[in-house]
Symmetry: C2
Subunit: 513 residues, 2 copies
């Protein structure tokens, strides 16, 4: 379980004529007794300071040892004893950052926090930021913004725990491949150009000082490796967090963010793919869509008899819009109430008075203006529904293409883990009704929260997880859907509710029109 | 024989949709094929430059890989192929620097050179420089002076070979412990204070850029480790150069510089000690003494019948003074001609007209003023002879204390290797006559030249020698003579020619007065 950074309590023999080992060699030998006999390295710029601190402390105190893959490195020596070491795990999202402050000695979580990604001012989505990076000073601005955000978030965590940021001795970072490039100040140009090649997947841990992070400058920064341009360290962290790479049974992990990213496999093999199933579900595209937050409608129900609609909002606030799970509930409910047909188009003969005309065409009134937070009705327009249909078709096509590729049936999956806000709020029943997720017993679906952050926490604590990081990069086979003919065919067949082949969804009522 | 830095010819598969490995990972994997499957590390500050150079070169060219103890590190990528790599081995002496420019691919020596140590302006001897280091700015001045000298010497070598200094990709440095501290900008304070503890013995290789050396900034600097304050990397280099650590037979290495440093042992054990036997022999103390150079009398002979003196000088120039071997020849000749007694004191009744009175007392005229280079006579004064007697007594006492400590007889030594200018010019016969070296068959004595430089060359080429460096630091037992009672007793007994116990020197004529 060896942590990424350790405090070793050292009490060395004081030198004498009969024991003339040099100061730094003495310290290294004393440390080696607690490092399976391996003497830690010392980088030249820290050599004199370490030797002097050790002597000044009377040859006893606390040695700070980093544990990068190439072996232990001695980076600091503190007089006396010290609690910790403290470390921060970071989920580096495209829109939000989420972080935990941990005590690696006790595994206690001292603080958690989150913050918006201020790169949004350069572009809401990754694609526009990658284009911005190509402008003069663009990459530096994107890099500077994210480093500033991280410093600010860490200050927030340290403040909550009542410690200075400089005592934070390690950081782990899980982000998608583009965010990882921005974080490391690497040119993302080729990420979005065929054949979609990252500059780097596996990164030897930089020192925090190299990245101008405000934590201790010698703190190692463990970057969760990417597997490809569309498969980042955030997803790899998820695999580690749920233990997919150690599971005997075959299981699946679905993470819906900007993209839908999916992995199937077990301890012997893993295959992954990703596709643009996300936007409509993430709430970032539909005009009434919003992130899961106060005022977001997260669940919708239609009374079977009356067709009357009821809903809940996050925090019970007045409704402002629909988050991903609300959109899926609504779409499924519209179908079961027969307000939309199997192509996802409104049936005016049924929806009737609930439809209004807007400049963008017909829209369904979810919440009348009088009941909403801002005096404007919450609407679901036909073009929003069309986007939902594309997303659900993409999701199901991704899943079927992937299981077909590895020759596994959905029924054979021990679990389908669903990560993130999507996993937390979604009702698998409604997603099945829409034909977005396969028609399996509901217990198959397991929400796993922010598995990216959980994986980032894990690599701070566990050398086995850090080794697994690097093994997984080679172990995971990545299926490129952008050029996959099978995916395109499946996508066409999935653009109906629940599916062209109704036998695939026995639990879903089927209407002929 | 793996060199400290290697050029790997790389021709990687060009990325495509079916092979989307990231640029840097692709390079590392291609390099690993030539590194026993080990992927080289990449330091974060070099990451982007490496990945971009690799792509710009069309995924083919020359990878530059350093080989520090913790495993291979990728530091540069060159388009096309390149000769070399080139590296410099340096003997970092207290008074002189000597260096070789090597092609590590062919082991060819492209240039050799030497230069005075300009730290001399801060003090001729190590002790005064260590005191200077304690003054404000003193250490920085000493460090800056030696770095400037090295840069100048390397420029000289590169100029001779017709290459820019920036193509030099590695450096090895063998110096005594104090010089190594000055080179690394480390405080030498405790080196000369009981219990004589260096700040560091084993140094992880700095990058040349860290030390402001003008060779390629990523070049690793292999510092030959010290064993103690009075046993530096220069002597450890000597052990490697003569293969003492791999020898089955027990042998001895004597290196006379500022100190006389002696090691005895074989592949199973090694014991070392050092003592102040050097100054008079190095030519630095006796007023007529000088380093072995043009005009230095290096050999002296007395005609047994007439007592007439003949001599040779280095390069056949007119005489200016006496180097170490000349001083030893002279002293031995004076004894055999009975011009001095067994205590090393002039016998006026025999030397008679060859003695002159000087303000410092009686002196023997080696070269009359008329025959010398500068119109002043070359003299050997009584007080110079007294210094020679102390030096020879110290040397023999060191040797006997050491062999006694390990329970070996002189006769059991396969070889006595004699390093440096002392070894090159000295006639063992005369040193035996004086009682400075044990009375053994002359073939036992083997001059080995600049073994410090030879060892520095070896570690550039051979990973086994680099591993041996670190093992030797633990393997060598250091005998501290400063507090050794036996040494003090033996020293007293050795202050006669050849020795109080004449039976120890059966080959030397013995005179009662």
């Amino acid at each position: 379980m060896e942590a990424l950074v350790s405090f070793l309590q050292i009490k060395a023999v004081v030198p004498g004529l009969g024991d003339n080992v040099a100061d730094l060699d003495r310290l290294r030998r004393a440390a080696a007794e607690q490092l399976n006999g391996v003497e830690p390295r010392v980088a030249y710029p820290r050599l004199a300071g370490l030797a002097e601190a050790f002597r000044a402390a009377g040859f006893a105190g606390t040695a700070v040892v980093n544990q990068p893959p190439e072996g232990p490195e001695l980076v600091d020596f503190l007089a006396g004893s010290a609690a910790g070491p403290l470390a921060v795990a970071l989920d580096l999202g495209t829109t939000h950052l989420e972080a935990t402050l941990l005590d690696l000695a006790t595994s206690a979580k001292l603080a958690t926090g989150h913050r918006e990604n201020s790169q949004i001012r350069f572009g809401a989505d990754i694609l526009s930021r990658i284009h911005h990076a190509a402008t003069p000073g663009g990459l530096a601005a994107l890099h500077g913004a994210i480093i500033g955000d991280i410093n600010e978030l860490i200050r927030q965590l340290a403040g909550a725990a009542g410690v200075p940021v400089a005592v934070i001795r390690a950081l782990s970072v899980a982000g998608n491949t583009a965010m990882t490039h921005f974080f490391l100040n690497l040119n993302p140009h080729h990420l979005i150009r065929e054949p979609y090649i990252p500059m780097v997947n596996v990164v030897d841990p930089p020192a925090a000082g190299d990245l101008k992070l405000d934590i201790h400058p010698a703190a190692p920064v463990w970057v969760l490796p990417s597997v490809g341009s569309y498969f980042g360290g955030d997803l790899l962290a998820g695999i580690l967090a749920i233990g997919l790479d150690r599971s005997e049974a075959v299981a699946m992990l679905i993470d819906v963010g900007t993209n839908a990213e999916v992995i199937i496999g077990n301890r012997d093999w893993l295959m992954a793919c990703a596709g643009a199933a996300g936007p409509a579900l993430e709430g970032g595209v539909a005009r009434m869509g919003m992130r899961a937050g106060p005022g977001a409608i997260d669940h919708v129900e239609f009374d079977q008899a009356s067709g009357a609609l009821s809903y809940t909002t996050i925090d019970g606030a007045k409704p402002r819009g629909l988050c991903g799970s609300g959109i899926i509930d609504l779409a499924a409910g519209l179908y079961l109430a027969r307000f939309i047909d199997l192509k996802g188009k409104f049936r005016p003969e049924a929806a009737g008075s609930r439809l209004v005309e807007t400049p963008d065409g017909p829209a369904f009134v979810v919440v009348p203006a009088a009941d909403s937070a801002d005096g404007r009705p919450v609407l679901m327009a036909q073009i929003d529904l069309d986007a939902v249909m594309r997303s659900k078709a993409a999701m199901y096509s991704i899943l079927t293409t992937l299981v077909n590729q590895v020759g596994v049936k959905f029924e054979e999956l021990a679990h389908i883990y669903v990560a993130g806000a999507f996993g937390k709020h979604i009702a698998p029943r409604q997603a099945i009704t829409l034909g977005m997720l396969p028609d399996l017993p509901l217990a198959t679906y397991q929400p796993v929260g922010n598995s990216s952050l959980a994986g980032a926490e894990l690599v701070l604590r566990d050398a086995g997880a850090r080794r697994a990081c690097r093994e997984l990069v080679r172990k995971i086979t990545y299926l490129e859907l952008n050029v996959n003919q099978e995916f395109m065919l499946r996508f066409s067949g999935s653009r109906f509710i629940p599916h062209t082949e109704h036998r695939l969804f026995p639990s879903v009522p089927f209407f002929k029109d």
